[in-house]
């Protein structure tokens, strides 16, 4: 049983997706999704324990040894991602129970859960695979399901956001495919370990350079690295709340993992960072992203949009850590992947509660929130402090690690940029606090939540009313994430242990 875990990690949510379609009740579909999420988390925990000492688990799909067959690879660099996915999936199951009921028409709920299972399958599949083409296939599974899920947002602009994401995301996926093709042309293999063995033999080849550039640009689109971020604000802010939580917490993170995997274990530090100026390019782009993301976030009028722009800045910080290509830089990047997932998950989950209670996520509607919904507001403030990086939050821990990594590499300018972006974060978080605490609430009667389809049909008989009560499961999810974001700031041993392990595997030069 234990030896089958790598395959089960992907297969359980996959089979659950098909099961959700077969079931006749929405509650059954929810149960199945919850089961898939819990199973993913348990599997991830067991796998983490198994590779904790730096072991690498290889699983041969179909019993064919790589490179003829496809292998799954589990090591410290991807168990972090698996754990995050498991945790966020469980949160989504708890949180979605009520949130989906309100935001999605009943007849679509079963398929909605099926699509969530598929999103999970795709993201897990990217994380565990040891084959470059297989990564593309699972990337497309996760992308397709997220396009459909985003399009189900309540407003009509969700459709436009989903379409824009579909077009640019597919171009990104195809760029990845071109890059894989170029690498295949000069090595004859698709297996990551085999690629890593054979690529040094063709070092300096212009086709390899092309492969690096196309794979990285393709993944950068999926990571929403500035200036390829255009799809992100619309997609994250218009998606149904639970989809927003999952995507904001782990969507881009999985692409960042894939990026690190290609950079460090497939092409290797020598090709990417020594021979080519990719590291410098990443640092420039990451710095710009930190400034632009945080800067634009300050001017947003909508809470979710503000959070989405803030994500662009935070992704910039994570890739900066990877661009340093040092053990401490990669470790800091991984630490921030973990912490930012928790923080953004909490904030998007809180935004979903606001949507339910206030019928809107505009900053104006949040006036006086501190008095009317003190707990939710408290969670928003705690997580917001994490975005700025105030001690003792988890955000502080990862920014501190990042600052140390930058100092170690003498990147003073980038350190200044990072501090500036933290100041900007203080501005946008400050705006939320100012609105929520110091402004008086507007009149809220008669506001409704509308499904975009119903709105366009003219009449809206099925429009959902603003809810009086916050569901316990939703509030609990937000509280759990907010508490975790403080706990990991006070006792960072678990996340930093994971991050250090990942950095060791990636920068230590061992095979994938």
């Amino acid at each position: 049983m234990i030896s089958q875990l790598p395959a089960l990690q992907v297969v359980v949510p996959l089979v659950s997706a098909a099961g959700c379609v077969l079931l006749r009740s929405a509650f059954g579909a929810w149960l199945l999704f919850s089961f898939a999420a819990a199973a993913s988390l348990v599997t991830a925990v067991v796998l983490t324990v198994q590779v904790w000492d730096g072991d690498v688990i290889r699983y041969e799909m179909g019993g064919w040894p790589a490179p003829a067959g496809i292998e799954l690879v589990i090591d410290q660099a991807n168990v972090v991602v698996l754990l995050l996915l498991g945790v966020i999936a469980v949160i989504a199951a708890a949180y979605g129970r009520r949130s989906i009921e309100v935001e999605v028409p009943l007849r679509r709920v079963r398929m909605f859960y099926a699509a969530l299972c598929l999103l999970l399958t795709g993201l897990l599949g990217i994380a565990v695979t040891g084959d470059a083409f297989n990564l593309f296939v699972f990337l497309e599974i996760s992308s397709l399901s997220s396009y459909a899920l985003i399009a189900l947002g309540r407003r009509r602009r969700a459709l436009l956001a989903a379409f824009q994401y579909l077009v640019i995301g597919t171009v990104g996926g195809t760029f990845l495919l071109i890059g894989v093709g170029l690498a295949f042309a000069v090595t004859g293999t698709l297996n990551m370990a085999d690629l890593a063995d054979r690529l040094p033999g063709v070092a300096g080849n212009r086709a390899v350079t092309g492969a690096v550039v196309f794979i990285f640009v393709g993944l950068a689109i999926k990571m929403a690295v500035f200036p390829l971020h255009a799809w992100l604000p619309g997609a994250y802010s218009e998606a149904p709340s639970v989809v927003g939580v999952v995507l904001a917490a782990v969507g881009t993170k999985v692409a960042i993992y894939a990026f690190a995997r290609f950079a460090f274990t497939v092409f290797g530090i020598d090709v990417v960072f020594t021979d080519l100026p990719i590291g410098e390019a990443i640092l420039v782009v990451g710095s710009l992203a930190m400034l632009a993301g945080a800067g634009v976030a300050c001017f947003q009028q909508d809470f979710k949009r503000l959070l989405a722009w803030s994500s662009i800045g935070q992704v910039g910080m994570i890739v900066t850590g990877i661009g340093l290509a040092t053990a401490s830089g990669v470790s800091a990047a991984y630490l921030h992947i973990i912490n930012h997932a928790i923080i953004k998950g909490a904030l998007f989950a809180a935004a979903g509660i606001l949507l339910l209670r206030l019928g809107s996520t505009s900053l104006d509607s949040m006036a006086g929130l501190g008095r009317r919904m003190p707990l939710t507001f408290g969670a928003v403030v705690v997580a917001g402090l994490g975005l700025i990086g105030v001690p003792p939050t988890a955000g502080f821990a990862s920014k501190w690690a990042m600052a140390a990594a930058l100092v170690e590499d003498d990147q003073w300018l980038i350190l200044a940029v990072m501090l500036a972006s933290s100041l900007l974060a203080m501005v946008y978080v400050g705006r939320i606090v100012e609105v929520g605490w110091f402004r008086t609430p507007a009149n809220l009667d008669g506001q409704t939540l509308q499904n975009s389809e119903q709105a366009t049909a003219g009449a809206n008989p099925g429009a959902v009313r603003v809810h009086e009560q916050t569901s316990l499961l939703m509030a609990g999810s937000v509280a759990l994430l907010a508490v975790a974001s403080v706990y990991f700031g006070i006792d960072a041993s678990l996340p930093s242990g994971l991050a250090d392990g990942a950095a060791r595997i990636l920068t230590g030069g061992s095979a994938p």
Partner: protein, 120 residues
């Protein structure tokens, strides 16, 4: 480099036309058609990698010794399916956009959203 590289270059030109069509056109359906051209050109690139001079289709037959490489064919079979799956979801979203906005021109739809925002 040999003379056979012209195949690659024509394929790259097709990719360029597709990519240009995706980005320059504001019509959503046209964007999807452009995306198709772009992807099909990438498929041709992969298939041309598996080709061997004087080879036969990789179906083992007695008396034939040289076969083209089957792996690129397998990959592209999968990629074609991925492509049409994307197209179908894209078409569904485009139809919904038309129902919601009354247009499939991206710029018009964006303008209508902006007008809506200004009215609020």
């Amino acid at each position: 480099m040999t003379a056979t590289h012209y195949t690659y270059w024509i394929i790259f030109a097709l990719m360029m036309i597709g990519l240009y069509a995706v980005m320059s056109h504001g019509n959503l359906v046209k964007k999807l058609i452009g995306l198709n051209i772009f992807q099909v050109a990438v498929f041709m690139f992969f298939i041309s990698l598996g080709r061997v001079d004087g080879g036969s289709p990789p179906i083992i037959t007695e008396g034939i010794e040289v076969y083209s490489h089957p792996l690129p064919h397998v990959l592209i079979l999968t990629a074609i399916v991925v492509g049409v799956a994307t197209t179908s979801v894209g078409v569904a979203i485009a139809i919904r956009i038309y129902e919601a906005y009354g247009t499939v021109e991206e710029d018009n739809a964006l303008a209508r959203d902006a007008a809506e925002e200004a009215a609020e």
